[in-house]
Amino acid sequence: MLPLLWLSRRGPRDLAPWLAAAADAAGLVLLLQFAPRVFAGEVIAWRMDWVASLGLALSFRLDGLAFLFALLILLIGLLVILYARYYLSEESRLDRFFFLLMLFTGAMLGIVLSGNLLLMFVFWELTSISSFLLIGYKSGKTEAREGARVALAVTGGGGLALLAGVLLLGHVAGSFELDAVLASGEAVKQSALYLPILALVLAGAFTKSAQFPFHFWLPGAMAAPTPVSAYLHSATMVKAGVFLLARLYPVLAGPDAWFFTLTAVGVVTLTFGAYQAIFRHDLKSLLAYSTVSHLGLITLLLGIGTPLGAVAALFHVINHATFKASLFMAAGIIDHETGTRDMRRINGLWRYMPYTGLLAAVAAAAMAGVPLVNGFLSKELFFGEALMLERGGGLQWILPLIAVLGGVFSVAYSLRFIHDVFFLDRPLDVERTPHEPPVWMRIPVEVLVAACLLVGVLPSFTVQPLLEASAAATVGGPAPEFSLRLWHGVNVPLVMSAIALGGGVLLYFLLQYGLDLHTHVQSRNTAKRLFDRTIVALSTAAARLTQRAYAGGLTSGVLALILAASFAGLFPFLRGKGAIGSLATAPVEPMALVVFALMCVSALGSVFVHRQRLIAVIVVSVVGLTVALAFVYFSAPDLALTQISVEVVTILLLLLALYYLPQEAPPERAVNRALRDFFLGCLAGGGVGWLTWAMLTRPHDSISGYFIANSVPQGGGTNVVNVILVDFRGFDTYGEITVIGIAALGIAAMLGGVKLPWRQADEAGRSWAPEAAHLPLALLVRLLLPLALLVSAFLFLRGHNDPGGGFIAGLVTAVALILLYLGAGLEWTRQRLAVNYRAVAAAGLLIAGATGLIAMLGFDLPFLTSAHGYVHWPVVGKVPLASAMGFDLGVYLTVVGAVMLALTRLGEAGLPFSAKRPEA
């Protein structure tokens, strides 16, 4: 239960920094409580099914590896919160910043604590999104927006690959639960899908951890506020990729593909990043490339595939997080104090801020791998591993050399960070005189640097147990024997360290004084440019495609749809599947003949008169009425009632539309077009007609028998149609009334603030009656309204057993109300009937949803399960008091609200402004 608790504590709304810190500290305390059990090798798990059919579960799992990462996330998170509180200037919106930071922290914790691969992916994407928002926090700056966009595109793209990889992995392992996946390592490695899985998972991990050639987003992300960089780009976000590799280590590690890919990518990233870092002029950019390089190192160590390599990798994760976070913070302090991060301008700061300089120097020493600091120890382990490599042919010789070379570079850039900034000359045109930062900004750096030193001097007392627990969890067996000591005696790794140190110092001073680093023109970021060009090309192509598809406006789109549908429908006919069935047909009755003849005639008539719009509306309404008659004739009274009331509303709507649209359309000149459409219409109509005929003459097999048999015993109603709507298929109906509500809202939104021309005459110049009300109609309506409402109540109540129900009653009510508006005028009615129809529709949806939830929460039954009983009312008769009634009430209110909202808004839009009242 506890991991979930942390997560729910992650995202409170009103975020003051202390609240964030409190949530973080609480999480930390909870985590530490588990420490003894985790160190004893126990796996603490908690799970709840989420979408069981997809294999997705809310499953959390705390083992050594998760513990290590969660500890780093929370500890460094706490320090970053403290630091950010003082770093961010007062005008920045702190609540937004801390909200995002906490969202990110929660997502990151989710990744490391997930016990289900799909859940982990969800959190993985969450980190991409929240980091996008954090990097783009200063949204006014172009580089911040661009950096955020690139980071999102790269890590999000990798995330998609990861999803595919995870799905394949779950398929092979037979489950998405981490326990099951970790146990099926052999099966995965034997599987034919191993290579695709590896490629996809690595694509996810490499993009996240900024491995070459995806490294370019990380320097761009330096546009983020420095606390974000200190957190995301040292300890957390970029470590997610490495975490994934470590997490899936027992499943994927071992085969040649893993070994060669990871070592090759790791080696290239390590050296490339370190080399680039030397030549950066921006402090944070230097640190970013250094991070790229260190992540390459960790990838390389995991790729080597020996247990000791995994230990070294995890150890370096800890060390890198501590020293890089403190260096970012130091860079932030310098930026804060001088107003720039350009190393060509900030020099000789030692005399202004010696204390910060000292802290930065210790942290930089750790980055360079100087003895007595933690970076040294993990670097020694790495050198040791590089020497002991047992596979890979020529790599055995190359790897130690590259290791030393990487060491030389990292010493050089670490030295530059210190020497260039704190010594070497004086500051150049810096905006203000720098001085030491406020004490609370320094404390996080002090804590981290102290940690670097402690681990560096006394490794076996500080990190040994943590490392053992996490290494055991990573390799999925007992942790290898290892001893972390400062002094192992004179051996080859020590010599390599010495060469790296000496070489690095030499290289730096050669470059600085021999070549004058400050004049070095930075090479352009090739990968980034390639990426940019691809993005530009993609968006141009997309724009072109859209333009082509949309060029013709609505008509061409409709045309394409009709053509596609016709051809799709034509296909089965051509394959001879359109034969007429053998079922006997019923004889034609004269009544039906009249109805259908009227239907056809008026449908065709509407085509001929469609330019005289008023007449066309009347003709179309005749079609609607014949459809209603057809429903009556074929034993569907519910449908007939619905059709008639909808017909009334539709005609009113079309008439209202005519008020705003031209009354007549000019003739169309294009004869070709009319011919084409005539042909298409015949094709579509003939096809559909034939299809109907073929269908009606073939045997019929329906699942309706079930509904008919169970309507009374299960649904408690004899009107099967209504029982299906509110009970059997209640969820569908719920979705449908939601659609209706959304359509009404859309109408209200489209008309919001629109003032349509107020017309007083038709196009022929005949003026319309200026009175808002029509007296006889107004009087009549006042008599009719109570009656109509009574009828709708009656229809509503009996709906469960006889034709009627929420939809029909709602429509009848709406028709009655509209009549009132028509007869008495908009203004008069509104004064007496101050109803907010939007609220009515919303209330309907809420009631319908609530009845469903009551069944689910109160009685532990599926959503919208109905209970029923009967109440005998005078006159109305036996009324079923099913809980479905509550649902039907929701349907009723939604229909009334939506119809009235649409029509009154349309009516109001044409009124002169003085008559309009502000929205309720």
């Binding site: 074929f634 539709t650 559909v688």
Partner: protein, 112 residues
């Protein structure tokens, strides 16, 4: 009888499609209305045609009209109304903003 219904639905479809492809938005609206009548009737017909069948459960009655198709069509009618209303307002708003009630901008060039 079946052929009669088929002809009816076919005619509605043909008229609907033709109007849907007209130049002015109001004709498109009429076309949409006719087409939704046709579709609703078609879905209704999938439950087969029953003349004089009992619409509600009654003791001793064996044949009923297919309630499932009716339930589907009932909501379809209401939803197609919501759709029509939305399109009507869209047409009005478009005419108001663009001062033109044509369904597509390029129709002008087609005509010329």
């Amino acid at each position: 009888m079946e052929l009669l219904v088929a002809i009816g639905i076919g005619t509605l479809t043909a008229a609907g499609v033709y109007l849907l492809l007209r130049e002015r938005t109001f004709s498109v609206l009429l076309g949409l209305t006719l087409l939704s009548y046709a579709v609703n009737l078609f879905v209704f017909a999938t439950g087969r045609l029953q003349v004089g069948a009992a619409p509600r459960i009654q003791p001793g009655v064996e044949t009923y009209a297919d309630p499932l198709a009716q339930a589907l069509v009932l909501t379809a009618i209401v939803i197609s109304f919501a759709m029509t209303a939305f399109t009507v307002v869209l047409a009005i708003a478009a005419r108001h903003r663009l001062d033109d009630d044509r369904a597509s901008p390029s129709a002008e060039q087609d005509d010329a």
